[in-house]
């Protein structure tokens, strides 16, 4: 029985052989993407993760604490009036949305990629006909679903209690969706290229900690970026971090006019292009180095 099946597959495989020498495997081309395998991986990772719901709920809780603190700081500061144009209810709306956006864009896999490289896990991933990026993506998708099971009800309860002030226009609502998607992509690939430094240096994750600190400061967590003073405001505008978290929140809460939204998208797309280029260069040279020195 086995021989028959083999014979059949042998025929279909014949074609691939001649092409063998021209192609370089570490480049991700369309034929190399293997969507079916990627989707299956996502499904499995999710199955594995729902086994540990409570652990991920605790993680999610940990991540929502800092924005929650700033929610109370700023809404208390605003009191009955406004701070920098924000009323108490507007601060509440801003931070509640920020909690959700921060959760949706946070790439925890950035922290694990380095470990996979350091502890030799990359070997098994490189042996499969599937780009290792899918492993990170599958954890991302699985994680988002599990975190949302926690974050959405908690935020809803907070909203009922804290009475946010939010008027979403159609334009802002529509712009929010791509802004959020791009924010996720930017944050994911930015962290991923930093994590790939593990191919060269053993403690590359120090840079990830620095990234988290910069996001805390410049991406709208410690304060909405509109409220940042002079040079910090400039830094927030030009560096990529605001476009990973703060920008979509500003879009949805109506802080930006049409020009502001378009400028934001331009920065987001520009930084995403730069990040993807960095990621692809790092990936290619990293794998090349890995296969030279051995895992």
């Amino acid at each position: 029985m086995m021989q028959e099946a083999r014979g059949k597959r042998q025929e279909t495989r014949g074609k691939g052989q001649e092409a063998g020498s021209t192609h370089h495997g570490s480049r991700i081309t369309l034929s190399q993407i293997n969507l079916r395998g990627g989707l299956a991986l996502i499904r499995r990772t999710w199955l594995s993760w729902v086994q540990h719901r409570s652990f991920f709920f605790l993680l999610a809780f940990g991540w929502m604490v800092p924005p929650l603190i700033y929610l109370f700081v700023w809404s208390t500061a605003a009191g009955g009036g406004t701070v920098g144009g924000f009323s108490r209810g507007q601060f509440v709306a801003y931070y509640l949305i920020l909690i959700v956006v921060n959760q949706l864009t946070y790439s925890q896999t950035n922290w694990t990629v380095g470990d996979v490289i350091r502890y030799g896990g990359m070997n098994s991933l490189l042996l499969r006909p599937l780009s290792p990026v899918f492993d990170a993506l599958s954890s991302e998708v699985a994680g988002k679903v599990v975190y949302m099971l926690f974050i959405v009800p908690v935020t809803a309860v907070l909203a009922l209690w804290l009475r946010p002030e939010l008027h979403v226009t159609l334009q802002n609502g529509l712009a929010f969706v791509p802004a959020l998607a791009l924010a996720w992509a930017l944050r994911f690939f930015w962290g991923y290229w930093l994590a790939l430094l593990a191919f060269w240096a053993t403690r590359a994750d120090a840079l990830l900690a620095l990234q988290d600190a910069l996001i805390f400061l410049l991406a709208g967590q410690v304060a909405p970026t509109a409220l940042l003073p002079g040079i910090l405001h400039q830094a927030a505008t030009w560096l990529p971090f605001r476009y990973m978290v703060g920008f979509p929140v500003e879009v949805l809460t109506g802080q930006l006019d049409a020009a502001g939204i378009l400028t934001g998208f331009a920065f987001q797309l520009g930084w995403l292009a730069v990040t993807l280029a960095l990621f692809s260069v790092m990936w290619r040279t990293g794998v090349k180095r890995y296969s030279a020195v051995g895992g």
Binding site: R13, G20, R44
Partner: protein
């Protein structure tokens, strides 16, 4: 395409390793000025393997076996030399190539701990694009061969080492690879599980015609499974041929076992014969292969021999000597 599925010509792999002495001072110094040392892991190794062969890769730790396997499976690119497997250059890691090989590592796991193996197997079926009907047929066959029906739906974290290895094998074979690299598949398993897996490997190789390269430190694996062995030591190929020939070629001595009626015959032994063992009237001698007949005749003539047998040295002893000295001395 040649008749051989695996062609390795003059393969060399040199690692550049940063070198520094212990201590803080040395660490700081190495930040400024790194000193590298070249380590030749594989030196000028050539061999060819035909479809369906079962080849044992042997050699001591650090001999270059794993490096060679990693080059063949595409994880490493060589410093020099030519390698073709199934017509592909492995380190290009084309998906067409990766779909046709499999590497099973005794110390690495593909399984997720929290979910039953069946879920992991299904994912692999999708990653390797195995048609559903073929997937089911292969899975049933492997599960039957390994007798592991009851494991399919339990979480992997509760498995013993042997049960996990069975899962690894199914995971590695679901896509029916043409070439299989087995790196220490029996590592840490108990004797009966080792024997079980050996029977499985032999049966699977016979049924499917898969080409297998096996590395193992258990000589029993190699003697049971591999008609052909490739011996690597210090990165160089020392021997390529039948396992039996290894002893003949690399161990130029034989063992003579004697039972004597008188207790003491030592005085009459010829100088070429080394006494390996001595125990109430039983003697084991190690003698040069070439002079074995004359020594045997001499012994029969001069000693009160009750029983005498001439044997090749046990393969473990030959291997041990090669591993320690890089060659076999008389």
């Amino acid at each position: 395409m040649t008749a051989s599925q695996i062609v390795v010509k003059n393969l060399c792999k040199t690692y550049r390793v940063p070198e520094r002495e212990a201590g803080v001072g040395a660490a700081l110094k190495s930040l400024m000025h790194r000193v590298y040392r070249d380590v030749e892991a594989v030196r000028d190794v050539s061999f060819e393997i035909a479809r369906g062969e079962f080849v044992g890769f042997i050699g001591p730790n650090g001999a270059g076996k794993t490096t060679t396997l990693k080059v063949l499976s595409g994880l490493l690119h060589p410093t020099a030399g030519e390698v073709r497997v199934l017509g592909f250059t492995p380190w290009e890691r084309r998906h067409d190539y990766l779909r046709r090989i499999s590497m099973v590592l005794g110390n690495k796991s593909q399984m997720l701990w929290d979910i039953p193996p069946l879920d992991s197997f299904n994912v692999l079926g999708d990653i390797y694009h195995v048609p559903p009907a073929e997937f089911k047929r292969t899975l049933d066959e492997l599960v039957a061969l390994l007798d592991m029906e009851e494991l399919l739906t339990k979480p992997v974290r509760n498995f013993s080492l042997g049960e996990r290895m069975k899962c690894e094998l199914v995971a590695g074979l679901l896509h029916r690879p043409d070439v299989l690299f087995l790196d220490e598949p029996t590592l840490g398993l108990d004797v009966s599980m080792q024997a079980r897996l050996r029977r499985f490997f032999a049966e699977y190789n016979r049924r499917s015609g898969v080409t297998v390269i096996l590395t193992s430190h258990y000589m029993a694996d190699v003697t049971a499974l591999c008609p052909r062995v490739i011996l690597i030591h210090h990165g160089q190929l020392l021997y390529d041929g039948a396992l039996q020939g290894l002893a003949e070629k690399l161990a130029p001595f034989k063992l003579i076992r004697l039972a004597l009626s008188g207790a003491n015959g030592q005085a009459a032994l010829p100088p070429e014969a080394d006494v390996v063992e001595q125990e109430n009237g039983h003697l084991t001698l190690r003698v040069p292969r070439a002079t074995t007949p004359t020594i045997t005749a001499h012994l029969l003539n001069t000693l009160p021999v009750v029983d005498l047998s001439v044997e090749d040295p046990p393969i473990e002893a030959v291997i041990d000597q090669i591993y320690q000295e890089g060659k076999v001395e008389v």
